[in-house]
Symmetry: C2
């Protein structure tokens, strides 16, 4: 995660922002337009994120729709929402016209419902409008919700020369051509061609003779995460999307999948840290609280549970054994750490589809692993307590319970995500506070019970 | 993370594996070859992962080098290592010949050093050999280590027609053509062309007139994670890699970047869970222990530290206050949870480059956030202790310390990753056991000090 300054790479500097603010204040529009002409739209979006809202709006109104549409697409969601609020439906429609259908539909989907129709009605290009309306009907977590309508399609009956001619026409609409999809006369997907194949082929060859019939595809209602897995596994750069009758409806490109992978990884990471998905460091305190407080509350309830259990033991314990309670944070911490380790590796394995074998084998392996770790750590703890407190039975009971707690914490950490996954629940919720809290309680109960047994209280 | 059965997608079934095992046992090679012909190499790699080592070797020796080279590339690293051990240098070299230079270099790099040269010397194609040798000189964490030598290169002086003719020749060597790179006569990168541009252009146009001069590139020694960020930000599907003199040396495609992103996310996730990078659920118990034990040991040391601190307090506390110790697991758990939440959001923000503003602002925001969470949780805890123990001062001291502990835990969780990042250390190590352990100890100390103060002990 280290940074490596690259002389080729755009860097926002204070001087750059100051210069732009100065140009805005003095309304030197020409200079502003010409200085922005040198930047990539993703860089301009970053600059706008650093400006005040009024300054950002000034720039958006100043630049042409072709550029601002791309900038809008890249902006931070909160800023985009604010900007869209002050633009008229007509202005938004103009920008939407410039965007690919998938990006256009994503932006429209963010608008309040009553504005959506208003903006759509202002889109002039009838085909673009119909495409966007179709995309809005799909769930955003499905292939249909992620795909774009822009693609290059040829019929199997065409020749290579005719094909190249037609592609020249279609390709102007499509920013990047990944694959050429081959359909039969019912628009059913039957194969694909790469542009390379087309260039390498002879002009008078028939598409039917050169296309590759073994084509991977997704269905409109496939889960995007499944599509991401398929594209990664087969190293695909684009995948066609078909409806239930195998009719070609759109295509998904790998750059959209990169975003899905990133978001999925971020979501799992946040869940493991006890943060409900979909917040960023720059979100408002209220949003962050909503994402974090429920998990902290779970932890608090667990802590109160641990207190109640310990109190029940304490009232029945002669006071000379109160030293036992001084080890409860250690036991709870170890139970929590082991639980998080075991659950994280299972959650990650499930996400990457590389958890093989039965639940029983998995539990057996985790038990052996936990036992190994437990023995090493317990020997150390035993030695410490024996030297520090000169009490063999105390040292034995604490060390023995640590082994038991580590094994049981490992089993719980392994079992819960596997169980949730089997029941169709996202196992990622089982890491973090959920597993630490339950393991804290189990750990303390096991510890106190074993200690009572060994010490003969 | 839910699974969506797709009738288009390959699924390993017990029946399939049994059938293949049966074919291997009965040595019906023809049937084996014909049944594998229907599978994608990534699917065959999955099947081999399910077979015994002897069975996997049988298949590898049976299929042709063209297929097995791709299978090898997709195999689980441990299985690949075992298979390469039993293949001769000549056999490995044959498979290497079939692979793209980047995959070929990756596989050779996995071999023991003394075998590497032996295998390389057996590669017949002199250009392929030189390319692989060049790639092996770069660090694997740099653009040079990730790039492939296969690319389509044209000189600015060529015409479109001449270009298409030459590309037909070059393109046969390149599996997928993303971009055509334009160089001057010194081989310096000066721009790019998409195949689409080339198809859309007229035959007699000069490349110099149609190429796009504004081209993103990486340098051979750029960090791969930086390259991944640039490619994501600018939605690039391929990026050319140049040396210090801007000479074109290779290209990186987005599918390799997808792997970098995935691995980076996995590494951060594992670190947050207290697992040192680079283990999978299916690794051996010893490997998993090596990855997990050091972090558990850190937790144990922390627990012992907490014990020593508590004991020091206990010996000075009248015994009627021993109830205070029953709340230490609660306090430690809350301090740990808050610390993990704060650090995770900072680590993620740093990874995604969206942590803006100064450290001070960030700490101020976290303080307000933690205070808000702390107040809500403390009111609840206060009510519980007051009702349960009927002791106002006890309830007050526990609730007041909870607020203080949460705020300080949040600040520590925010500060440590920011500090590590500033010092050039991967902040991801600051989440998980590291932050929970330090916060456990700080939390308990703060709690006992505040309780002593309020209870006037």
């Amino acid at each position: 995660m280290e940074e490596n300054k690259d002389n080729n790479q755009f860097q926002i500097t204070d001087a750059l922002i100051e210069n732009i603010e100065h140009l805005i204040d003095s309304k030197t529009d020409k200079k502003l337009v010409s200085s922005f002409a040198n930047y990539h739209y993703a860089d301009i979006a970053e600059i706008l994120d650093e400006l005040t809202f009024e300054q950002a709006i000034y720039i958006i109104k100043l630049l042409d729709s072709d550029t601002t549409s791309d900038i809008l697409k890249e902006l931070d969601e909160d800023l985009r929402e604010k900007i869209l609020k002050v633009l008229s439906a007509k202005e938004i429609a103009e920008k939407i016209e410039e965007l690919d259908t998938d990006d256009a539909a994503d932006i429209i989907a963010e608008l309040p419902e009553e504005r959506q129709e208003h903006v759509i009605s202002q889109i002039e290009d009838a085909e673009h409008k119909a495409d966007i309306q179709e995309l809005l009907t799909y769930d955003e977590a499905t292939a249909g919700g992620l795909m774009a309508k822009e693609l290059v399609k040829v019929y199997e009956t065409w020749t290579v020369a005719g094909c190249l001619r037609r592609i020249r026409g279609q390709a102007k609409e499509v920013r990047r051509v990944h694959s050429v999809y081959v359909v039969d006369r019912d628009e059913k997907l039957i194969g694909r061609l790469s542009l390379k194949d087309l260039i390498v082929a002879k002009n008078d060859q028939k598409i039917a003779d050169i296309y590759i019939s073994n084509v991977d595809y997704a269905k409109v209602d496939d889960d995007v995460e499944e599509v991401a897995k398929i594209m990664q596994k087969y190293d695909l750069e684009a995948i066609p999307v078909v409806d239930e009758y195998l009719k070609l409806k759109g295509r998904i490109t790998i750059d959209d999948i990169v975003d899905v992978i990133r978001e999925e990884a971020d979501k799992d990471y946040q869940l493991a840290a006890g943060i409900t998905q979909d917040v960023e460091a720059d979100d408002s305190i209220l949003q962050l609280t909503k994402a974090r407080l429920p998990w902290l509350f779970l932890g608090l309830i667990g802590g109160i549970g641990a207190f109640i259990i310990m109190e029940a033991f304490e009232t029945r314990l002669p006071s000379e054994f109160s030293i036992l309670f001084l080890f409860t944070p250690l036991i709870a911490a170890m139970a929590g750490n082991v639980g998080v380790q075991s659950s994280a590796i299972i959650v990650q394995g499930l996400a990457n589809d590389d958890v093989k074998g039965s639940i029983n084998n998995r539990l057996l392996k985790e038990m052996m692993l936990a036992a190994l770790n437990g023995v090493v750590l317990s020997i150390f703890l035993f030695a410490f307590v024996l030297i520090w407190k000169q009490d063999f039975l105390l040292a034995l009971s604490i060390a023995a319970s640590l082994i038991a707690v580590i094994i049981i914490a490992g089993l719980i950490g392994t079992f819960i995500p596997l169980f949730l996954h089997k029941r169709g629940i996202d196992p990622a919720i089982a890491t973090g506070p959920f597993i630490t809290t339950s393991n804290d309680i189990f750990g303390i109960v096991i510890y106190l019970m074993i200690a009572k047994l060994i010490l003969g209280i």
